[in-house]
Symmetry: C5
Subunit: 263 residues, 5 copies
Amino acid sequence: MSVQRLNLMGAVYAMACIVAGTAIAEERDKLLSEPGVYGNFSAFQIYHDWWNMDKAVRLAAISEAKAVFDKYRDKLAIDTFLLRGLSDHADVMVRVHARELGDIQSFLVDLLATGVGKHLNTTLVLNGMTKKANYVPAFPDALKNDLKAPSDPGPDTYAIVIPIRKDAEWWGLDQDKRTALMQEHTEAALPYLKTVKRKLYHSSGLDDVDFITYFETSRMDDFHQLIIALEKVKENKHNRRFGHPTLIGTVRSWDELFGTLGR
Amino acid sequence: MSVQRLNLMGAVYAMACIVAGTAIAEERDKLLSEPGVYGNFSAFQIYHDWWNMDKAVRLAAISEAKAVFDKYRDKLAIDTFLLRGLSDHADVMVRVHARELGDIQSFLVDLLATGVGKHLNTTLVLNGMTKKANYVPAFPDALKNDLKAPSDPGPDTYAIVIPIRKDAEWWGLDQDKRTALMQEHTEAALPYLKTVKRKLYHSSGLDDVDFITYFETSRMDDFHQLIIALEKVKENKHNRRFGHPTLIGTVRSWDELFGTLGR
Amino acid sequence: MSVQRLNLMGAVYAMACIVAGTAIAEERDKLLSEPGVYGNFSAFQIYHDWWNMDKAVRLAAISEAKAVFDKYRDKLAIDTFLLRGLSDHADVMVRVHARELGDIQSFLVDLLATGVGKHLNTTLVLNGMTKKANYVPAFPDALKNDLKAPSDPGPDTYAIVIPIRKDAEWWGLDQDKRTALMQEHTEAALPYLKTVKRKLYHSSGLDDVDFITYFETSRMDDFHQLIIALEKVKENKHNRRFGHPTLIGTVRSWDELFGTLGR
Amino acid sequence: MSVQRLNLMGAVYAMACIVAGTAIAEERDKLLSEPGVYGNFSAFQIYHDWWNMDKAVRLAAISEAKAVFDKYRDKLAIDTFLLRGLSDHADVMVRVHARELGDIQSFLVDLLATGVGKHLNTTLVLNGMTKKANYVPAFPDALKNDLKAPSDPGPDTYAIVIPIRKDAEWWGLDQDKRTALMQEHTEAALPYLKTVKRKLYHSSGLDDVDFITYFETSRMDDFHQLIIALEKVKENKHNRRFGHPTLIGTVRSWDELFGTLGR
Amino acid sequence: MSVQRLNLMGAVYAMACIVAGTAIAEERDKLLSEPGVYGNFSAFQIYHDWWNMDKAVRLAAISEAKAVFDKYRDKLAIDTFLLRGLSDHADVMVRVHARELGDIQSFLVDLLATGVGKHLNTTLVLNGMTKKANYVPAFPDALKNDLKAPSDPGPDTYAIVIPIRKDAEWWGLDQDKRTALMQEHTEAALPYLKTVKRKLYHSSGLDDVDFITYFETSRMDDFHQLIIALEKVKENKHNRRFGHPTLIGTVRSWDELFGTLGR
């Protein structure tokens, strides 16, 4: 094959990659912003014997796991986190978004079958789904407007996951009363809109909690103040379980995470 | 032996298999629909060392386990599920129906004695039995009629098990009050009759809960909405334990499941 | 030695065995029926590594354990159960009756020092003692009479152990109020007297519960109905802990149990 | 050296030992009776791999541990117990008294560094201190006098440890109300003064409970009746945690205990 | 290179070390006294297999860990504690202060990657931050003055960590009511100001508790009395979780701690 032709093919391939990459990025944006998407949070503890393996074996295992991540890139939005040092009973966490829970399972089953996965102990699994806002449509216009304020741009350092289970009384309240309580909750959270990003997953029946609340921030002091603000509103009395566990870690790319695992 | 005779024997054997298969299928249908049948849900976590065994050894172990499944096919109705990725502390689940709890135990003891079973850690056992409907006979005719609507045909993707324990107050209510509460519960569940199949097992004394509720669906969003609907009715206040754990997985044939275990 | 003499000695030895056997059987009957006897329920999980041992080693270990059972036969009443498949976190259970708790400990320490015992993880220990009936003397004569009805003869298949802890309010009630509540409890249980045998052990201070209730039956459906009947009486509101765990298994002789362990 | 001289030296050494022994015995008596002494209860489970070690290795390990016991004999009062068979999740227990908690830690750190200690899993640690009686000075003289009745002499067979945590309401009561409740408690316990010895440790802040109650008896039936008597008094309603775990075992000398561990 | 020059360089280097040491000490003082600093408490249990390793291997592992401590000395304030013997499920504890939680994670991830860290099981992680006093500004001047009394100088022997979670009602109280309750709390603690040092970390959202209370003392009896005093005030009724676990140990330098680990 001539060099020109090879070059041409390379260019076409590169363009295809860019196009594919764009499509992947677009689908990822949709998965992370649309309602009706499933989200899975899986926390793993690395088995003690991993660290006693040869470095070469570990590096091969990591490559195998990376290939699984790549295989599912166009269908799933996958994020990875380093929990070690900040959470107990968990070293790493994976967050997976997909349109079908079955696709999430396929990815995790494949991941756990790799040389890395065989050394991972799944210590927590939370499943949820995104939905249109329940209470916001009934909020006053001023509040609705405040909620549209953009959060600070740029990447965030920390991620926190707090599972929540409501008491039976909460679910027995009529929609108006719950809306009023959620309005107080939302107003208390307003001052932290800019520096703490939030994402809500509905969980009833999909695991043992009702909600998974996910936070991203570079300002842990602001996040702490936000949680105190939310503890002070009346709706907090209906939280039968709040955290327990609270998962806290740092946002890491796959490569950073695997770098930590491989050394 | 002549070829004709061999062929004839093969045909007879095939017919016997079909007849036997029909009998097995009929008995399975009865076990899955009649009252007075025992149901056992056993969740297993695969010991870490399984994955380090030679593939040939694992395949031999899987064949041994399959033989146990076959041995009990005519007496028990056995279903298998993949929980890994969607539930924590459990990789696979077996659901067994039989007319005697002792037969279920024999099967499970045999299964755990195989090369596969020796690598299974039993993380949860739930025992229950099917009974005639407690409250439905006292429901209004219109509701009784609604309950007869057929559910969507075809295989379902997901299975969910939620164990439930009632509080002492619930059991102290008289039958009329419980019927009224269960009527509200049933009406709330009506919109999901078509897409979410339910099966109820009574458990008091057979394990630490009062009921095992089993769900099958291809629509996890509908299932999630059903659970929210059930959280909103007054009967929910008498649920001392709801889930904890909630087991969630996908319906898998033995071969699919073992395929996953063998790779 | 002459053949006649050997035969004579054999006959004498056989008679001595019968006499000894009778004495053992009589003492066993007393231990199982008299008040003032201690009962211990120990549930064990077999360590994973047991199954990887050579069959010959396992058989030798089982013989060693059998010898311990034999050594204590004249002093203790020992029963054995297979829990595997019907209970989680327990494979086998031993129930031991003795006039002194120290003798029970000696037996269990000896058993755990055998080749079998070294592979047993003790997952639950319950200690109790039998006492004269607390409330029956104050029951109406008709009820006292009903309680004398004999239960169905013959061996039972299933055994269930349910530990119970009462709340502080129960213990604060005066004897008359507790008698009235226990009369309602007893009347609710009457229909199941024939098919479900019960035995009560008092536990306060001897472990973390107040009572150990032990059941034997061949009719698990009747047992289930009995528990529902007991959940419906007012005394149930004073059960702070009921089960948790409920241990359920089948009654097995030592040989059957060891046969299962040896294969 | 002449034989006489050797004999003389031997006699002097023996006398020194007796003197030292007497001093040790006197200090032990003080540690076990005076207020202001710290008490630590440590329960250990023997790791599964201990039993697979060579007997010679185990005997050497036991000698090493004995030397640690000897090293601390003059400073600490150390008692040992066999829990195996009567308690779950614990095989042996050590009770240590000292004037400083740091000395108790030094002993336990040394013990756990021996060949035995490396195979011990610490399943429970309770720390407390002895104090002068809180409520007795305000009791009526007759009751004070009753409390002086000597308990039965001679060694006791059984030891039981029950940790207790009071509720917030208890601590909020004024001293008079608590004294009245403790008087009822004490009167209920009087009939068991002779056969059940009690020792109280105050724990608030030193671990997760408020009190450690330690009992010694040869009459487990009397002990059981004592606990029922204490469950019936009003003060029992303020026990947020009672036991959980209850540790029960037999009093054993070091040599007996190590004999059991070595076989 | 001439000897004089080498000497000069040595002197400069020594001076640089002193200067650096001073800077490190100054930064450490700030980290331990300023508001807005993050504190992490990590408790570790040493895996059983550590003790079976060659002493030389363990010493090399300890050197590796020491190097990690040194690497972070200028950025973090790190303190180490020996919990073994006084706490269950934890042998050692590390307390780390930093201006960013991410720096704490980096240190712990590096530590856990060493030859020592590979044998540490993280049994508890608590994260908190220091803040300006919430309620003191509203206290009466006399009380504010009392709070300024210096504590006893000199090193303390014992350290205790008690995590606290408040109930929803506490957070629902207005600031005045909480101030009044905290004033009663503070007055109760006054008598122990001299002998028991306290440090408060705010935790809401950073783990599963609201506060981490850290104590240092040489007088465990005073500390015990302080906790009883705090149990008696009304604010105690709002403590939904107090301890559970309570971590108790002795303050040890790195070298002492590693000396214990290496023997």
